[in-house]
């Protein structure tokens, strides 16, 4: 039984150069999402803002309400849970709709990591917190999120005695989907030989293991199930929601790099939806780095521990496989708009508007977000029918 539905999707153009500030991209996406849902601005009574961790609050302020011409809100907030925020906005919208606090909620993400004279690499080249208030990372030269994920990847590959081919398999699976997606940015076929020949950036990760940043905005409209029936677009229903935040315990007996809160997020969402991991037909994972797809496949219960690489290498997550994953090319080959990327692809697939990459059976799709160093997790179970038999 569905809890809510996404009935509107608005996406700006995704660019590799700076055109408009994030707030203006957000306003454009909000307008497109409201039209797509067949609604007027006056119908919207909730607005939840997913600010990029890179952006200042002044670049993505509460005043987006005014910039977007929304004056009838009974719900307004900036949701700050790093990369899990977009999924969390949809969860908060659903809870607000269930309790009657709001009926039609817009959730929006926008970011402009690519500025004039600033590459994406520079934009993300901040010291990566790992040791809390110790602050030693800057002196050790531990810069960029790539490093934190390289640390997780090295640990994962060592614990399970696997090679970087497992990571390459994820990059190739994403690329095969991207070849079928006109919105995707990296669409040239990728082979394992090409992957192996690519130089390391922060070993064991290569550039091909990293997200491909763009400037852009994505907004969605979340409504109640009855309102969704009046929508001009096929509703994308939500059956289950969960979060997991396992903390960062840096001592023996704990492995926060590879034993994340994804398991708790998944277990909660599956239980709410009345399903198990075996019922999942496809996944849209937040995949800022290849390693996170392997870990998520395992912690969301879709592969045994250490076996995700073999599963991806065998082609099961690629077009034609038994568990399609990141069917638009994901963050690696599609477009990196943080938690909004998996949500946007989920909606296009559930509406059967995914063209040649359309997946046939989608009774239950897992849609996730995570943030920080894979510390903060949020998950949705979505599908095409109000009630799945």
């Amino acid at each position: 039984m569905a809890l809510s539905a996404i009935t509107g999707l608005g996406m700006t153009e995704f660019t590799r150069d700076y055109q408009l500030p994030a707030w203006q991209l957000a306003v454009n996406a909000i307008g497109m999402a409201i039209s797509d849902a067949g609604l007027e601005h006056a119908d919207i009574d909730g607005l939840l803002l997913n600010k990029s961790p890179l952006a200042e609050l002044k670049d993505f302020p509460m005043e987006l309400q005014d910039y977007s011409g929304l004056s009838n809100l009974s719900l307004l907030n900036v949701v700050e849970a790093e990369g899990s925020s977009m999924v969390q906005t949809i969860q908060q919208a659903t809870m607000a709709i269930q309790t009657g606090m709001a009926t039609k909620v817009v959730c929006v993400f926008a970011d402009t990591p690519l500025q004039e004279n600033t590459s994406a690499g520079d934009a993300f080249a901040v010291a990566m917190p790992m040791m809390g208030h110790l602050g030693i990372e800057v002196a050790n030269g531990f810069y960029t999120p790539i490093a934190a994920y390289a640390m997780a990847a090295q640990r994962y590959l060592a614990v399970h005695d696997r090679t970087t081919d497992d990571l390459g398999a994820v990059a190739i699976s994403n690329r095969r989907w991207a070849e079928l997606n006109e919105l995707a940015k990296l669409r040239k076929p990728l082979t394992m030989e090409q992957y192996r020949d690519a130089p390391f950036l922060i070993e064991p990760l290569r550039m091909l293991d990293c997200a491909y940043p763009v400037n852009g905005a994505i907004a969605v409209v979340v409504t109640g199930v009855e309102d969704a029936k009046k929508s001009p677009q096929p509703p994308a229903y939500i059956y289950g929601m969960g979060q997991g935040h396992a903390g960062n315990i840096n001592r023996r007996g704990h492995q926060p790099e590879i034993e994340t809160g994804a398991k708790q997020a998944g277990d909660t969402a599956y239980k709410m939806a009345g399903i198990t991991a075996n019922d999942i037909d496809a996944c849209q994972f937040y995949d800022a780095f290849s390693i996170s797809t392997l870990i998520n496949l395992e912690l969301y219960g879709l592969c045994e521990k250490g076996q995700a690489g073999k599963f991806v290498l065998s082609g099961e997550t690629s077009p034609g496989g038994c568990l399609p994953v990141n069917t638009g090319g994901g963050h690696l080959s599609g477009y990196y708009l943080q938690g909004a990327t998996p949500v946007s692809e989920a909606i296009m697939q559930l509406r059967k508007q995914a063209g040649t990459r359309q997946v046939d059976k989608l009774d239950h799709m897992l849609v996730t977000g995570y943030g920080g160093r894979m510390q903060f997790h949020a998950a949705l179970i979505m599908g095409q029918k109000e009630v799945v038999q």
Binding site: M131, G141, Y143, R155, G253
Partner: protein
């Protein structure tokens, strides 16, 4: 974003982390221990993540441990590290249990998860000494 020109980068040390930095200047490894349950904790904590107690002591340990994970920078992301590439940053699991992040000094090809390591100190200038790690014969 433009980085400031700098030969070294050093954190602005928070009071909760000061004993670690003072120890490091004297070539000592300082971590914390819960008074209530005796669990050893990484430096700069205020609450024991095992029992919840907020009474913690600082303790001087040998600093010996094993590599838990590591990464090798093949590109610099900060001008202060341009001359160091390639360099290795590791998470060291101390014999007492807590993990510390530090640079690994030595051949990166020799580095592996589980490798025994011991402290070594990089004198950066008159004011700054950085705790690093090297292979141990243990």
């Amino acid at each position: 974003m433009k980085f400031p020109e700098a030969d070294i980068v050093w954190p602005s040390v928070e009071p909760v982390a000061a004993p670690f930095y003072e120890g490091m200047a004297q070539h000592k490894v300082m971590i914390q221990q819960c008074v209530s349950c005796s669990t050893y904790l990484p430096p700069a904590q205020v609450v024991c993540d095992d029992c919840g107690s907020n009474t913690l002591n600082w303790v001087n340990v040998s600093g010996h441990g094993k590599i838990y994970s590591y990464v090798v920078y093949h590109r610099s992301f900060h001008p202060a590290f341009n001359q160091q590439v390639p360099y290795t940053v590791a998470l060291i699991e101390l014999n007492e249990g807590p993990r510390l992040q530090a640079q690994f000094i030595g051949d990166k090809e020799s580095c592996y998860v589980g490798m025994p390591v011991e402290p070594t100190y990089k004198i950066i200038n008159d004011k700054h000494t950085l705790l690093c790690y090297m292979r141990s014969e243990d």
